[in-house]
């Protein structure tokens, strides 16, 4: 196992109380595994991604642990977490377009970033990775503003993986792209994994059909909790959780994506995470709900590598 997340709880502090955005999520990631993380907007995907690399000022680590390569990550301590960042855990942000300092030439920025982490810049390696993503080497002498959107995205992908992290988190990096560019990004990420630039990866998207092209395993979240986790083909072809089933059936055809038919096909809205009522959080919208659903359904491994949190599936 590269990564083990155990009963992780991360809340947002707000004036009205804590938003329980990540409420007891457990899962593992093997070497070389790519995990697709899916679910409606607001279900806590970004929160999980941030929890693994950098909590923002309003988030607090309430409980649970994260173990990467056998070491427990001090995720609640911003300073202690620093040595792990970039080298062990890295991130391709949602905002690739603005992720680079606009007033530094890219090459110089990369060098300063590496020096600040006491790493030597291996120029040959950097060049070969630029070649791999088909970026001309002279981009290093340019300012970010001189690059096109696609070039900036590829540059950020190269920077984030330069130190061969064990875990890479990619949060909604394809959302703003057209379909052919999305494919290219997915191919590049796969290439990074196959070449060993990254050991394992969490690919976050609200677009489950895209996840299917890349991920070995898909994890579906609902309202801050894990709903279902299984090999990609199982999730797509034989989902057990009612929520996943609705998600999949609302797709016109797996692998095809229609702009207006993503994860919007399920009637109703997710519950507020401010003071969620006990019990299954999906039960207001669940067609199969029954009395037992007033209790929290624990995640159960119904078959090998297939975890479902639903009373009906167990």
């Amino acid at each position: 196992m590269t990564l083990e997340v155990d009963d992780l709880r991360v809340y947002y502090r707000t004036l009205k109380g804590d938003v329980q955005a990540l409420d007891g999520v457990s899962f593992g990631l093997r070497d070389g595994e790519i995990l697709g993380l899916a679910g409606e907007s607001g279900c806590g995907k970004t929160t999980l991604g941030k929890a693994l690399i950098r909590l923002d000022g309003r988030m607090k680590h309430v409980g649970g642990s994260v173990t990467l390569d056998g070491q427990v990550l001090p995720i609640g301590d911003d300073v202690k977490m620093n040595p792990y960042r970039f080298k062990q855990v890295s991130l391709i942000p949602q905002y690739s377009m603005s992720a680079m300092n606009p007033t530094r030439k890219i090459g110089r920025m990369v060098r300063e970033l590496l020096e600040s982490r006491r790493e030597k810049l291996d120029l040959d390696e950097l060049h070969s990775r630029l070649d791999l993503v088909e970026l001309p080497r002279h981009v290093l002498g340019k300012y970010p503003i001189e690059l096109s959107g696609g070039m900036k995205q590829r540059m950020v992908m190269v920077i984030s993986t330069l130190l061969n992290p064990s875990l890479l988190i990619a949060d909604e990096i394809t959302s703003a792209l057209d379909v052919s560019t999305q494919k290219a990004v997915v191919t590049t990420l796969k290439g990074f994994r196959d070449r060993g630039f990254v050991k394992s990866m969490i690919f976050i998207t609200h677009d489950i059909s895209l996840t299917n092209q890349l991920a070995d395993t898909i994890m579906v979240m609902y309202a801050g909790k894990l709903a279902e986790k299984a090999p990609a083909s199982t999730v797509v072809n034989a989902p057990k959780h009612p929520y996943t089933q609705l998600l999949i059936s609302s797709l016109p055809e797996v692998g095809v994506r229609y702009a207006d038919k993503r994860l919007t096909g399920i009637p109703g809205n997710p519950p507020s995470l401010l003071k969620p009522e006990p019990g299954c959080r999906f039960r207001d919208r669940c067609p199969l709900a029954f009395e037992k659903c007033a209790e929290d359904p624990p995640p159960v491994e119904v078959e090998k590598d297939h975890v479902v949190a639903c009373w009906k599936a167990a």
């Binding site: 620093n82 040595p83 970039f86 942000p93 603005s98 300092n101 007033t103 030439k105 600040s116 982490r117």
Partner: protein, 331 residues
């Protein structure tokens, strides 16, 4: 980049053109014979000069010529550096009075602007870093920036000059001195310069500190800062980047504040009877010397335009984005 400068120069050119035109127009809009009425209102030092002035100014205004020729003539004399003759200090040409005063004004303005900008930016950046500093620097800065220049000047003149008697409170140098390149004179000059400079510096300082603090906090929350933090870059590097980028809007801010700073210098000079343009303007207003006033106006406009242009050049040097021609500073 060429487009950027082209646009800027066009604006400055138009501004100057408008200033000269207004300057030409305003006296002509006054009812009656402007020369006669101005001479009547002015306090001319020597009565026998009245007649000479009347002849001279009727000639200068050239009222018998068609208006467009009058207008062109005024540009002609402007390019010859002829601003007319002062009524108050007859028969000294206005241009002479102004060129004598300008060095004193610049000696106050340039150091106080540059130093307050540099120190204020540093202070603001420090304030953005530490809560303790933020809670002290910020309130003090707000008080300073809300203080009228002239009042701080008056307080300092009173406190340091009258009550404690450490500094002289009037003039550019002591009455007993004659300007010369001796140490004694330079020290005297410096001693007279210090208080007006300090009061200008302090008021301006507050604004820069507040501005820098706000911009840098904004920069520290920007995407690139978040990305660097996620990659474990030390705060030192992120702050360096943020400061560097926050300086850019502060340079633009400098251009925007020039008018206020010049105004501050003018009234500060008046408080200290410092022999710069401010004191000259006060004399012009008190003695109704409109020619002197108009000359001072054009000098100040021209000075501010030149300063704006210098700031534009600096901006292009500091912001690479304007150089690669992909984006410009706010016009």
């Amino acid at each position: 980049m060429r487009r950027y400068f082209g646009r800027k120069l066009l604006i400055y050119g138009l501004t100057f053109f408008m200033a000269v035109t207004v300057n030409w127009l305003v006296p002509r809009l006054m009812p009656g014979d402007p020369v006669a009425s101005m001479l009547a209102r002015a306090r001319v030092a020597q009565p026998e000069a009245q007649e000479a002035l009347r002849v001279y100014y009727n000639n200068l205004f050239g009222f018998d010529l068609p208006w467009w020729q009058q207008y062109l003539n005024s540009w002609g004399s402007l390019f010859r550096g002829d601003f007319g003759i002062s009524l108050w200090a007859f028969p000294t040409p206005v241009a002479d009075l102004l060129t004598r005063a300008v060095p004193y004004s610049l000696a106050l303005l340039i150091p106080s602007i540059l130093l307050s900008w540099v120190v204020g930016n540093r202070l603001g950046a420090l304030a953005a870093r530490r809560k303790v500093l933020d809670n002290t620097v910020l309130p003090v800065s707000y008080v300073l920036t809300a203080t009228p220049y002239l009042w701080l000047a008056a307080l300092m003149a009173w406190g340091f000059g009258v009550v404690w008697g450490i500094f002289p409170v009037a003039g550019g140098y002591s009455f007993s001195m004659t300007p010369s390149l001796t140490w004694a004179f330079l020290v005297d000059l410096f001693w007279h310069w210090l208080l007006p400079f300090a009061s200008l510096f302090l008021v301006a300082l507050g604004g820069w500190a507040i501005g820098m603090r706000n911009v840098i906090i904004y920069e520290l929350e920007s995407d690139y800062a978040n990305y660097m933090s996620a990659l474990g870059a030390p705060q030192k590097l992120i702050r360096r980047y943020a400061f560097r980028n926050a300086v850019l809007p502060q340079i633009t801010g400098l251009a925007l504040q020039l008018g206020v700073l010049v105004a501050g210098a003018l009234v500060t000079e008046i408080v200290f009877s410092y022999p710069g343009l401010g004191s000259l303007i006060l004399a012009a207003i008190q003695n109704k010397d409109f020619f002197l006033l108009q000359g001072a106006f054009l000098f100040i406009v021209l000075g501010v335009l030149i300063a704006n242009f210098i700031i534009d050049v600096v901006y292009v040097i500091v912001d690479p984005r304007t150089r690669v021609g992909m984006a410009g500073a706010a016009a």
